[in-house]
């Protein structure tokens, strides 16, 4: 091989790798995935669960701020390739626009805690006056929260609660009650099966509070209310569609008498639908399927008769987040936990409410 072709190869390889790397980079932090409509299902606060002692502007020690014309930061936890995250980010963006903020800075931690801490510190350096944070993890954000506190920037956490002290390290938590979602999934399973059946559970990722609470809620409700629903097996499928499929395929072989599947999220349920069909059974009929989230694909699955019910976990935090902070700056008392009301999709409302799905 001559040296000319050699260096030509080299140039080609380096150029190709560089272009690949560049293309890879543009994916983080942009808004390519958020252009789709976020639907119109506005979050509503569950009045009964607004709990804990209230937090006021004075108690927190922040200075008054008019959100109109303010610089606001949003730290998203996971990539916007997941439907939930895309809808959440889009909702925050559109609500920020509606609130008339001067500038909204959005970062994405790609599910890495150290990156989220760096993201928040960066935004503080860029002069944000208020922060909305979707935490990567319940623990470990302390350095970022401390930095925000030092600069007197209030932090509102959404969708995942942190273990720090409310009204000191952060203002309040805005999110769903995952335990209650599990309880309602059990109720929906009772409806779908007529109260009798052998249930397999597809668990979310291990060591995740969403998994734990959605599982505890379901199992405790079944134990208490529905003695003829028997939970025969539970296996993790990591919130992923392909794992939902492969694990369900195995479960249908190991427990051929399964009549129902409860999946901790929609993606695993959609994987289960494929697996049940491939096994020559009718999903939604021979095997009842109930899941949690409310993605467009899963609600369409109800319309198609493959899935029996979906408990919603509403990702549209934008309007309520800005409403809550407007109240906070107006001197009103904000409860520690602002728990939202989640809807439910069944065969009765799936078709007409399909546009509400995310």
């Amino acid at each position: 091989m001559t040296s000319t072709t050699f260096s030509a190869w080299k140039t080609l390889a380096v150029a190709a790798t560089a272009s690949l790397a560049l293309a890879g980079c543009t994916n983080s932090g942009d808004d390519s995935a958020s252009d789709q409509p976020a639907g119109d299902d506005k979050q509503v606060v569950k009045e009964s669960e607004a709990s804990g002692p209230g937090c006021t502007l004075d108690k927190y020690g922040a200075t008054k701020l008019d959100l109109k014309g303010a610089v606001v930061g949003f730290s998203q936890s996971e990539p916007d390739t997941a439907a939930f995250r895309a809808a959440e980010t889009a909702s925050i963006k559109s609500a920020a626009k509606d609130a008339g903020v001067k500038k909204l800075i959005v970062t994405n931690a790609n599910a890495e805690l150290p990156k989220q801490i760096a993201d928040i510190q960066d935004m503080l350096n860029q002069g944000v006056q208020m922060l909305i944070v979707a935490p990567v993890n319940s623990d470990g954000l302390d350095p970022a929260l401390a930095a925000a506190k030092q600069k007197g920037v209030p932090v509102l956490t959404i969708d995942r609660k942190v273990t720090n002290t409310s009204c000191s390290d952060y203002v309040a938590f805005l999110g769903s009650d995952f335990y209650d979602q599990g309880v309602r999934a059990a109720d929906a399973m009772n409806e779908a099966t007529g109260g009798e059946g052998k249930v397999a559970i597809l668990l979310g990722s291990s060591g995740n509070n969403v998994t734990d609470e959605r599982n505890a809620g379901f199992k405790e409700q079944v134990e208490k209310e529905y003695p003829d629903l028997e939970i025969v097996v539970e296996q993790t499928a990591n919130f992923a569609r392909d794992e939902g499929q492969t694990v369900t395929e195995q479960l249908l072989q190991s427990n051929p008498d399964i009549t129902a599947i409860y999946a901790h999220n929609d993606e695993m349920a959609l994987g289960a639908v494929t697996a049940v069909s491939a096994a020559g059974k009718d999903p939604g009929e021979d095997i009842k399927i109930v899941s949690i989230d409310g993605t467009r694909n899963a609600v369409q699955g109800i319309v198609d008769g493959d899935i029996n019910a979906v408990i919603e976990s509403n990702p549209r935090f934008g309007p309520l987040a800005f409403e809550t902070m407007t109240k906070f700056y107006a001197g009103e008392e904000i409860p520690e936990d602002v728990i939202i009301e989640d809807d439910e999709y069944t065969s009765e409302n799936a078709e007409q409410d399909l546009s509400k799905a995310f």
Partner: protein
Amino acid sequence: MTDTVSPTTTGAPAPEATGRSRRVDSDWVRRNGVFVALALLLLFNLVFTDNFATEGTLRLQLVQVAPVLIVALGMALVIGTEGIDLSVGAVMALAAALIPLYIGYGTGLAIGISLLAGVVVGLIAGVLVAHVGVQPIVATLGLMVAGRGVANLFGGQIKSIRDEGFRELGTGSILGIPYVVAIAAVIAVIVGLVVRRTTYGRQLVAIGGNKLAAELAGLPVKRVLVTTYVVSGLLAAMAGILLAARSQASDPTKLGLLMELSAITAVVIGGTPLSGGQVRILGTVAGALLMQLITATLIFHNIQDSWAQIVQAVIVIAAVYVQLGRGTTRKSRTT
């Protein structure tokens, strides 16, 4: 067929006279341990696991292992050259992400473009390793990160694929054998023959055994290396396509995640040394089947996922330990 090929001219140093039998023993374990373990686990399940000894269950294991096996076969070739290919999982995601974009123009065309993407990534890896001189682990690590980025860019959110031909590929069968399984079996036979019967195969093993000697002997080292990474990329793309066909969806963020580790595991527990110079195809097939069977066993007995991971880790460590067995026996003799 025996599936071990060792370089005859560039082999390991001559065995010492003393301690020979112990070394032979550990070598026997390295070569055949995976077959024994596979047979034992299969026997255990057939006897003790409810609902295991059914046609459906056994067929399912073959269907599920097929994509892993296809990737592992390419990986075995790369490891044979004393390389490693960490980009395979990302290539799978990239190949799957391209399917929904082109399926509208025809099933065949979409599959062709996806395979081409695998070839391109493999070509880049091969050129970086062979011509630029980047270490395989570094070159393919870069492609792993960049490849998944590109897959996300093309694919975005998870997309369902509704195409009759594509569905048939994932769920159909020929003479009672699922296409997915038939494809994996054919590839295994082809790769096995290529390694044993072709000049390329012998050159690959020679290069892995001693690259310098191969260069001095005038072997086309660069061409063989580039070809090997291209084959690995092509096979990874094929596995990605088959996984997408099976789930009738393409998820660029999650498809093929950690597949590089599964493939390397299958190759290593199959007895192919990471130090190159040998390619064990039958061992790789057994290694992939063993990992699949372990997963199935744990699910069938409803054992928690965390335990499954621990069990897999223990097996990998045991396999690597057996590979190192030679060195440890020698050490234990001198102390």
